[in-house]
Amino acid sequence: MANSSSTMDRRTLLKLIAASTGAGLINAPALAVWQEQPDLLPVNKAGFDDATVALITELCEVVMPRTDTPGAKDAGVPPFFIGMVRECYDEQQQQLFEAGFADIESRSKTLYGKPFATLATVQKSDLITAIDVEAMAFNKGEDTQWDGAGFTGQPHYFTLMKQLIIFGFFSSKVGGTQVLRHSDVPGGYYGIPYNEGDKAWSTVWPW
């Protein structure tokens, strides 16, 4: 933003110009109306220890893996996920995320005797698949291993995680342009045929 004294000087000048020419705009310097928003919180300032960062990174990739197209890591989802947890969720939801990370880590150690981030791909996938199924049951009100204690009214933690990974992935540049189809300036709107396997279009609003 321009400092106020130079802003004022330019305003005064423009007013004088307008007055002397007797026409045109009395023109205030435009400040940005569609403001630049602050950068996302970087990973090293998010307050997660290395093990948790590693867990989140692998969690994102196991939900949205690289296949014949790029995956979560390629798309920068893990740092996005971490910044978003800190900046776009309220305090209780952040605690739910944290409790979820701890729960995943604890199950990994119980089942495989190792931290989640160091599991084989198939082990990570098996564990998260089980939690995904459990989350649906929990959200329907069934009794599950995750009992939601202390988080009344909140869904299973994995529901929040899965939604954020999906959103972060498909709204990323890699996801939007390499995994989905993107048209920056379509120019028109009309019907086209759909053949099985054709990709969906990227979206321009965050909902």
Binding site: T7, M8, R11, K15, A19, L25, N27, A28, A30, V33, W34, Q35, Q37, P38, D39, V62, V63, M64, P65, T67, G71, G83, M84, E87, C88, D90, T129, D132, M136, K162, Q163, I166, F167, F169, F170, S171, S172, K173, G176, V179, L180, S183, D184, P186, G187, G188, Y189, Y190, G191, I192, Y194, G197, D198, K199, A200, S202, V204, W205, P206, W207
Partner: protein, 563 residues
Amino acid sequence: MVNNTYDAIVVGSGISGGWAAKELTEKGLKVLMLERGENVEHVKDYTNTHKNLWDYPHHGRPSEEALASQPVMARGKGYPFNEVTMGAWADHKTSPYVEKEPFQWFRAYQVGGRSLLWGRQSYRLNPQDFEANAKEGVAIDWPIRYDDIAPWYSYVEKFAGISGNKDGLDVLPDGDFLPAFEMNAVEKDLAARLKKQYKGERHIIMGRTAHITEHRPEQGRGKCQNRDKCWTGCPWGGYFSTQSATLPAALKTGNLTLRPMSIVKELLYDKDKKRVTGVEIIDAETKETIVYKSKIVFLNASTLNSAWVLMNSARDVWDNGLGSSSGELGHNVMDHHYMLGGTADIPGHLDKYVYGRRPTGIYIPRFANWGSDKRDFLRGFGFQGNAVRQSFNRDADGLGIGATLKQTLSEPGKWTMSTVGFGEILPDHRNKVSLSKTVTDAWGLPVLEMDAKIRDNEIKMRKAMKEDIVEMFDSIGLENAQAWESTYHMGKGIHEMGTARMGRDPKTSVLNKHNQVWDAPNVFVTDGACMTSSSCVNPSLTYMALTARAADFAVEELKRGNL
């Protein structure tokens, strides 16, 4: 010495203010247009318009910090408050208001106002809309009829550029349209089924939208590119805004002076002549007070702020301000009640998809209390909506994780129909805004206190809206039809109206049939404040038409020496 005298002053630069400036300057008047916020230059200041979601730090979502900084706006996550548009809304800290009843007031304090951020749906009121108050004994009669405004609808439609079909429905009069956007194949199918099912009494039509669908080099506007980034400003000028349409026309005359950062403190009233002599403004930056003189004033500050300016004026004559002699100034607040609608799955059509991001949708015009349809409430409602294939942003329950999930979400899902209803709110004297006795804004001016809510008629209508949409969806073979509803408070429809209504009698209305303040005929109020009833259709086109009509009258009256 700066020349502070003009033929006309226009307060506000949004949809109606832009029209007032255009009409008055084109008729040869020297016009000063005052805007309380910053300047926004067409194209140059549309700083987000070439961004995609991934260019925003939070991919478009508002942070908790941003939500906390705008506690009132935060109640409406999604549209309109998100990372893409958030800077374009007024700052609640410098411009607070008091909520005796919950009220969501979406203000855009910059040149262009909400014309840069509107939904662009553009419909004519129908003849019944102007007669219903009188027939039903509600509030007061409109002082004009459809025939009075019809030519002005045509006039503004031609210049603004409204795309739409001539659908031949008496409930929604046709206008002078540009070619409509295309209804997709699925919408066409549903439209045909609905028409058959309800024997031609209910319709799905293409939304009529203030987008040009043909290039207009003479206006410096290119046709809509179907980017669907309208709320970032359109560098093609594809949709109607002050910047794309009325402001360039007004500037071209050489008769316009635009002064941003100018908060109108009051209209200066000469009680002997019963005329306003000009306005006193506060420069928003320097806080300096300046007087501008003019023969006439067009008040286009938006419904609540136009009433607010009047309330702050001529207080030495009337305690509650200029236009308050009727006791109606600030009363009869209306909006369109919404935040409810229906969703359903559409079976089949999986061999079809669309190209492009159409910035509008379909419309289901009013059918309740129309023709043979009779209800236990007055008036009606319409639905906006569309049929789309699901994006990645769909319910991912049951889709698993990993490669399968990724593959599934990288392809479009089933076709779904979603609609949102907009219902008419009756004018009610009890619904009002007034000046707060205790709270002031950053410039020391008293702020508005909101005391308005929906009542029995609207509550009954909402129940019917939910039932009807599910019934219609079921009847045309859609699956899993469900109604949805979330909290609606007055203002949330962003169609606020009625605070300085037109009427036939100075004892019961603030404005006459030409939008003149009864107590100061050289003041014209032509934004939503003037509305005597609200209809259920999006109101901006009506403000445009009434503004052009009043401007024409004002200039004639000036020539006749009557003002």
